[in-house]
Point group: C3
Chain length 468, copies 3
């Protein structure tokens, strides 16, 4: 098969916001405990953080990590996570029905984020809490000093403010499973008032308001419109979440599922701009695709677990090569929508539906999904160009006219490079890709890497190096 990918230097989609390569660490399963944090581990530093995990994350080059949830945050009392560790309460954690020890708290995670060379995208609890808890946390994190909460931060060891710039106004507040779920009106009003007050505390922050927890929710669309109608002028981003499954084991259809992500983005952009039009506002709301990934391998096992363990192995999807291909398609889709998608978080980073896995007292290992993310994050910086793809198409169980190729062209001005990412959706045919790049004189191929030839069901669980 043959395909043609065309782009022109002068036809840009957008500069890429580095935060599009964000990820996510939730107090869930073994993400924190036994994940980034394992005091007795051979590579653990004096703070108890595993250096091997940090090294793997640095390979991924992750500029932003969402924290501490996720569903977790909707029942979380952030004050539990500060002060002397030995005084911190052990909590019944109701989102995942585990025990949260609060051994890793706010200061520890901020310290870790500095070590891991990443920014934090902090979430406030709008499930069981409201304006006051949010404003206090923000004052604690970002105010220089001279007030109760900022002085308490200093007392607890951080003289300098954390200066967290991106904040989530709760998580998936439309989901019936959410602790303190809200109707669109309830959440829209709460988000509006909380956002307003948070910007009074620090007007340099950016705020992400919750969109639907998936495009399949019965309230999708109405939710986004209503929430934005309330909170438009006080927020900056609207969130999207999407998880892919392949229970039906249908590879051609599975790999086409990134088309859903593209459609989802464009639908939500339309809603944002409809509210903008209605309000006659000069402000544009951009998107934070702050949860996306494959998630289904572990669901049956998780449904059978008894509750109330500390750091139980939850959501430990073992990914295979087909998952890596779809993640690659997802990354390309996000990039091709970089004009509106400014933040995206691969959910998640360590152990929990994650590219990076740890063995207690043992090795860190990389799932197949690690590799497309690493490549995109390291090479996909600069400006996305409008990419025209010509290729044969196929029809799958759910999708029509699926292109065999998913691709994007990126112009990295700083490095004076053009980068092409492409995924071949065909299981059996090789694809010859011709690229037509206008406006780039004297361009030559510097490097070409390929992830190919693997069995779609290949995992790295047993042979950690199978895809190195």
């Amino acid at each position: 098969m043959k395909a043609k990918v065309s782009a022109s230097r002068t036809q840009a989609v957008s500069k890429i916001d580095p935060r599009i390569y964000g990820s996510f660490i939730e107090h869930l399963g073994r993400a924190v405990y036994e994940g980034i944090y394992e005091p007795g581990h051979p590579t653990a530093n004096e703070k108890g953080f595993r250096q091997d995990v940090i090294d793997a994350i640095n390979e991924l080059n992750v500029p932003l990590v969402r924290y501490p949830g996720g569903n977790f945050v909707s029942g979380f009392k952030w004050e539990d996570s500060i002060g002397p560790v030995e005084d911190r309460p052990k909590r019944l954690e109701l989102a995942w029905r585990s025990i949260e020890t609060n051994e890793v708290g706010l200061h520890e995670f901020m310290e870790w984020s500095r070590q891991a060379n990443t920014e934090v995208n902090m979430a406030v609890n709008l499930g069981t809490r409201g304006i006051d808890a949010a404003r206090n946390l923000l004052e604690y994190c970002n105010h220089s000093g001279g007030t109760y909460w900022s002085d308490l931060r200093k007392e607890n060891g951080d003289e300098e403010p954390f200066n967290i710039k991106t904040w989530c106004l709760g998580n998936e507040m439309d989901g019936p499973w959410q602790i303190g779920a809200k109707t669109a009106d309830e959440y829209g009003r709460l988000a509006e008032e909380t956002a307003k007050v948070m910007k009074l505390v620090d007007d340099s922050i950016e705020l992400v308001v919750c969109g639907s927890s998936s495009s399949k929710m019965p309230t999708f669309g109405e939710w986004e419109y209503t929430v934005l109608d309330h909170a438009y002028e006080n927020v900056d981003f609207l969130s999207l979440h999407l998880y892919w499954e392949n229970f039906e084991n249908d590879l051609p259809n599975y790999l086409a599922k990134s088309m859903e992500m593209d459609r989802f983005i464009k639908d939500v952009v339309a809603i944002c701009d409809a509210v903008k039009a209605k309000k006659g506002s000069d402000k544009q709301i951009n998107l934070s695709f702050d949860e996306w990934n494959v998630w289904y391998h572990s669901k049956d096992a998780d449904a059978k677990r008894d509750p109330w363990d500390i750091a139980p192995p939850l959501l430990e999807d073992i990914y295979n090569f087909e998952d890596a291909l779809l993640v690659g398609c997802g990354l390309i889709t996000l990039l091709n929508n970089a004009d509106r998608v400014k933040i995206a978080c691969l959910a998640q980073l360590v152990n929990v539906i994650a590219p990076i896995m740890t063995i207690k007292d043992g090795k860190v290992w990389k799932q197949p999904t690690f590799y497309p993310f690493m490549q995109a994050s390291n090479f996909g910086r600069g400006t996305v160009l409008t990419t025209l793809t010509e290729a044969p198409t196929y029809d799958s169980a759910e999708y029509k006219d699926v292109s065999y190729i998913e691709s994007t062209v990126i112009h990295n001005e700083e490095e004076n490079e053009v980068v092409i990412f492409a995924v071949n959706r065909s299981e059996d045919s090789e694809l010859q890709v011709e690229s037509v790049l206008e406006g780039f004189d004297g361009l030559s191929v510097k490097e070409a890497t390929e992830l190919a030839g693997y069995d779609p069901k290949l995992t790295t669980k047993e042979n950690h190096d199978a895809m190195e």
Copy 2:
């Protein structure tokens, strides 16, 4: 007059849930202080609980006691009631405008319930509080240990969890008198979210959601429908409350008032099942008739009291024989609806519109209403049979076609007994009752007791033994 009561072994209404013989102790008046608890009393045990009161309650055989309110609970902070007694705050109690010392708190009441051989039906405050207070209380009561609240319970003296199985989601939240009253939508949403989170803490509990505080409320019906429409899948029972008055001193009409109770139950069942139909749910909501009794004798006196006493004598109705007859009709009505009424609480148990009264430093005495309840509770166990009653009828001021007899037939499989309860509503005529019981071979009368021949206005206030 003659009447015929027919039933067949094979035509059952339902097994009787023992909780239909529940009662209620609220932090109100002298129910707790000078009621069940009076440290200096000659019969008080080392915990300060009066043994004579426990003995009287044991005669009633009460399997469930609702606690701590009632209206009281809507302003109650449960954390006030734990920890060292001397550190507990004295509170302005706004529901009854008294002072609450918190001398008897959660642990004390649980200890008392064990002594009194009864389960506790605990209520959470949804007036001034919400999800967090409810989940913390439930964790405190029912979680085994290893978390903040469950470990605090242990520290406060109870190593084993209380394992409270039946919980009320607030009390009479539709009543304008209620602290933090709610509209149906406000309450439905709060109950829905609170119920969901409570079942995340302990999925073995059963939850009672508030119906209307009486069938006379202007929002009756609409309230039930709206609340259930929100909370249907998260709750198990809907509550009903009913109090009878005889201000007009019209005995035939008064004794017919149990028909109101029957109508009320059937109306509420219809609403529950209408919501079930709308939702296409497989789940059935049953009823908790968790406040019912005669209440009017004390109202004038209570209206004149000044506020802010500790344990003032409030709601101390002195009951007479006609009240006992109506209570008997009420018990029969509840039993005949045992397919849907699974819980009922005679409101209340001690001193406050109660069958059991105490004298400070003195005796415990039994009101006329004590006796029908005792008989029903002790003998009315097993399966209620579909009971057909044929008898003459009369018209009263408010009711038409009132049967002179109210009766039910119960098959106690364990004891191999059939029990017939019957009340004669006629003031002057004796009633000859013929019973036709199919499917019971070799049945013979073992015992027949009768409460009759008393003046309708007879009380036991002066002569405590007048009805022994």
Copy 3:
């Protein structure tokens, strides 16, 4: 020009409620710190309160001071302001983006109010807080003792209750700038339930529910109707706020702006009475015009200030003679509506859009607006008579048929005096006023004072005594 002012002893508008001469001290700018409180000042007493400021306030004869906000109250935690001063938290104050030290708290202000011979009109926070904070504060202030909060008041130095009689249910809750702003339904419901519970704590208090923050709000009218529809039976007063500006520097139009106040009052009265009619209630809601003044001179300067100072010089309008004339018109308007306006608060009293200004370590000085207020408050006591004014009129940029004279006639029964207040709106013509007073035999002129002949732009900033 000639004018005629007529009134009759038997045609009264209403007895004047002294609270119509109320004022307002908010924790804002230098109102409290460097205003009423400056420990190192030569006139400061042992509590740190400036005696020269108290003296000036006593000249104004202010019977009621609203406290502690204003916008401030919607983020305020009242418990921060009690207990040992050294333990009180320093807060990020978000309404005015300052630092609040809580050095002057509840007890200090109550002490000051006793020294200043004024009652306090206390506001509860309905922005970020609700029923519980309000009932606890009220118990703390007004309950005699024997409960947690009242005993804590005693412990903190005040054995006797403060007995605060007038309470505001939040402040300007319709304003998008308000911390925790509410829709009319949200606020109406919260005010209803909070009011109900506060009156359970102390049924002798009077409650002011928030009307619109100005008659220019898009929700004006609808807000009042909806809020009262919820809370009618639980509240006593509805609030009005109005600030005048003269950015256009148009004196004839500016002085006519008191007509807006009159129109505003009559519109709100109509709404109150419409709700009364709908409800068939016997209760009348009266008005609390609890913020009114000129406010515009300082707005540009304030917009440029950086946040987070302690007691920054905010809202320090320097008033001129034309402002004093309009304030005089405002006072007359309030008095002529004394049948429904029972409370009014000149916003504010010291340093912040205030008649009284202080210099740190230095003098207290009086703005031009001091004088009309002083005269009205000292001489305008008793009964307002229905005042008929005949005078030439003019049309201004915004108003038609503006009378050149604004006047009212007051009968002070105690002093056996008739007092006439009149303002001449003409910049250049003197006005000869003839007064026709029926039913007052043997009346003679005892005293006539005049504020006239000043440049409209005259201020007292440099020459403090320019208007003495």
